[in-house]
């Protein structure tokens, strides 16, 4: 079936709402936790789920998400397993878009055609391979598209206007603006700077613009949400997986609490301004 991303963002746009997108690493700390967590996050009001595929060498991530990968890999959570989790999730939820986010090598080993076919059949909607820039993605993008998978790409604070144009021309679903120089989970977000960049990106595309890296709490989420179409929250959630590794119930409770507060803050912003 077609990707769920476009209908999801169209509907949010009509309601003038900002998408809330959580990132968690699949299989962290145990594989059986992931699918119930996905359902709980949907109940807490998220719009899209970004599921991290564990990798041994996550170069673009900070220590929090690297450790999540390490925990998941202790029990050998593979790309194949992650696709299986999406399939399981779809037994109950056929509505919430799911994006796989990870590194290229596990996909390369599985084979691009085989991966795209299996992921699409399981109900995956988009794929963000962090270490695959558009220059190296020729051929891969077509395979994803042919299987109704949206190729999602990153744009960084250092991305030139020319590259922005190139990235926007091959992306679909949404584009993901990395709001900080640095790795995931870093500090010091400048919201006016983000707003300016999002405006610059919008000159190149009508695709929704999501913003991630550095969304730590409800206040920052609301600030960023006021100037973008989606906020992605990762490290702030994944920290809870580290803190309460031995207590899955506690992880779920904490994650739901963070997401609920962000949801409330994002929706309050809509009521306040009435428009975006």
């Amino acid at each position: 079936m077609a990707s769920r991303l476009k209908p999801c963002f169209d509907s949010l746009r009509a309601q003038q709402r900002t998408a809330l997108i959580p990132f968690i690493t699949a299989g962290d700390p145990k594989p059986e936790i992931t699918v119930p967590m996905m359902h709980a996050m949907v109940d807490a009001g998220v719009d899209v789920i970004e599921l991290g595929v564990p990798f041994s060498d996550p170069m673009a991530d900070g220590p929090v998400i690297q450790k999540a990968s390490e925990r998941a890999l202790e029990l050998h959570t593979s790309l194949h397993d992650v696709i299986g989790m999406v399939k399981e999730f779809r037994k109950i939820n056929n509505n919430t878009p799911v994006i796989l986010m990870g590194y290229l090598n596990p996909v390369e080993i599985m084979g691009y055609e085989s991966f795209a076919k299996q992921a699409a059949e399981a109900g995956v909607d988009g794929v963000l391979t962090v270490d695959l820039p558009p220059e190296e993605a020729t051929g891969v993008i077509e395979i994803f598209r042919n299987n109704n998978l949206d190729p999602v790409f990153l744009i960084a604070p250092t991305t030139t206007d020319d590259r922005m144009k190139k990235i926007c021309s091959v992306a679909s679903g949404f584009v993901y603006y990395v709001s900080l120089k640095g790795v995931t989970g870093a500090a010091n977000l400048d919201i006016q700077g983000v707003a300016d960049k999002v405006q610059q990106i919008r000159r190149h595309t009508d695709l929704p613009v999501g913003v991630g890296f550095g969304i730590k709490d409800a206040e920052i989420a609301a600030g960023v949400g006021a100037v973008s179409d989606a906020v992605v929250v990762g490290s702030a959630l994944v920290k809870k997986f580290e803190e309460f590794t031995d207590s899955p119930d506690k992880i779920q409770k904490e994650v739901v609490a963070i997401l609920s507060s962000m949801r409330t803050a994002l929706d309050a912003d809509v009521k306040k301004t009435g428009t975006k």
Binding site: M59, H76, L79, E108, V130, K181, G182
Partner: protein, 407 residues
């Protein structure tokens, strides 16, 4: 790869403009690094054609590093082996004791021309870290070296050396706590401090332009070897032998000879306790293509595409990837890659020490061990050039420990 790709080496001009050697190499990094790599590529292409830069580089290589390094005819050892004549390219006689400095001098100079005041590096055994800290001291730059916590334990004297040189050594506790994790951590630093910082990669791996740039800085080895061979022997050698971890000393020797089709080329990988034991670092001999650390190349990985920990007695060869140009030389069969075990390397380590009075690095001992096998299969008037990439003083504790000797 099942079929050998046809390729003409007589006009070798790889990589292409995007950094590809056939299907290998390229630029597989997060968007957060693209601008920095583009800036680096432009600077590298510009300054390597700038006479002022080249002159300063050549002067530094001559008077600070001590180039040209000698080419030494290991006559006694050759006679004992009873075959080809073995010549050693003496990179062990460079300042800091290995080939690594050829590259760090080049990159630090480039950093200075680019106006960067801070350099960072990753290191496994500590050799590249020491070479980076050395040039940072020489050029008055701040230097941060990332090193796996495990490696810091194993290489205490190199850690102290770096500190003496004024570098800050940061322990990396993630993943396997070794070289690949140090590389990940250095990349993270670079992403965060990209405006002020130059990342000195120590080998011919990583995203474009590193594999080409590091090769170009190391190619001085092969250019000198070619000239010295012509002077001393009167013709080109019959075979080249060098050890391959990431592969920078090897490509440095091989590159100027790629178009000389009668020169056989052998890259020697570390098979540790044996490839069948699973404890090895023989990436080209036993790995398969994948994507890691910014380039497509051969990797040691599991069935799910996760990178596996490697083993070699030589820390400098203990890396799960390999330079993409070597991957291409393997597939096209321009070079042959062969495994040498820990024990074979140790045996050659002792042989060269006792017979020629040269203590070789354990890395280089792998190349020597293959030359020891190869020489007796060749005639006495044939010539093998072995890259003696580093000296072995740093390894005496490892050798002693392996042989149950307490110092």
């Amino acid at each position: 790869m099942s079929q050998k790709p046809a390729f003409d080496f007589s006009h070798y001009d790889l990589p292409d403009t995007n950094g590809h050697f056939g299907p290998y190499g390229g630029l597989f990094v997060s968007e957060t690094l693209m601008a920095a790599l583009e800036e680096l590529r432009e600077a590298y292409e510009h300054y390597l054609k700038d006479p002022a830069f080249i002159k300063e580089l050549d002067d530094t290589l001559a008077h600070y590093v001590g180039r040209p390094s000698p080419m030494y005819h290991a006559e006694r050892w050759s006679r004992e082996l009873g075959g080809a004549q073995i010549y050693l390219k003496r990179e062990d006689l460079n300042h800091t004791g290995a080939h690594k400095i050829n590259n760090t001098v080049g990159q630090a100079l480039l950093a200075r021309y680019m106006g960067k005041k801070r350099v960072i590096a990753e290191t496994g055994a500590g050799q590249h870290g020491v070479a980076s800290a050395t040039v940072a001291a020489r050029f008055g730059m701040e230097c941060v070296v990332y090193m796996g916590a495990e490696d810091i334990q194993r290489q205490a004297s190199n850690v102290f050396r770096m500190k003496l040189l004024g570098a800050k050594v940061v322990p990396v506790t993630s993943g396997s706590k070794t070289l690949k994790d140090a590389l990940n951590e250095a990349m993270r630093d670079w992403v965060t401090n990209v405006d002020s910082t130059f990342y000195i990669i120590g080998t011919v791996a990583g995203p474009h332009p590193y594999p080409a740039m590091v090769r170009d800085f190391q190619a001085v080895i092969g250019r000198e070897a070619k000239e010295q061979c012509m002077q001393q022997v009167g013709r080109l050698p019959d075979a080249l032998v060098a050890c391959v971890g990431g592969g920078s000393n090897a490509i440095g020797l091989f590159y100027p000879f790629l178009a000389d089709k009668d020169v056989a080329i052998y890259g020697v990988e570390a098979s540790g306790y044996g490839i069948e034991s699973g404890k090895h670092a023989a990436t080209l001999c036993a790995g398969k293509p994948g994507v890691l650390h910014g380039n497509r190349t051969y990797l040691i990985e599991d069935k799910d595409g996760q990178i596996i920990e490697t083993h070699s007695i030589s820390a400098g060869l203990d890396y799960p990837g390999v330079g993409p140009e070597h991957a291409w030389l393997k597939d096209t069969e321009r070079a042959t890659y062969v495994p040498i075990s820990d024990d074979e390397a140790l045996d050659a380590f002792h042989a060269l020490t006792r017979i020629e009075g040269i203590i070789p690095a354990l890395e280089s001992s792998h190349a020597l061990a293959y030359a020891k096998k190869l020489a007796p299969t060749m005639n006495k008037d044939q010539v093998i050039v072995v890259n003696l990439s580093g000296r072995g003083d740093k390894d005496i504790h490892t050798v002693a420990a392996r042989e149950g000797i307490t110092l």
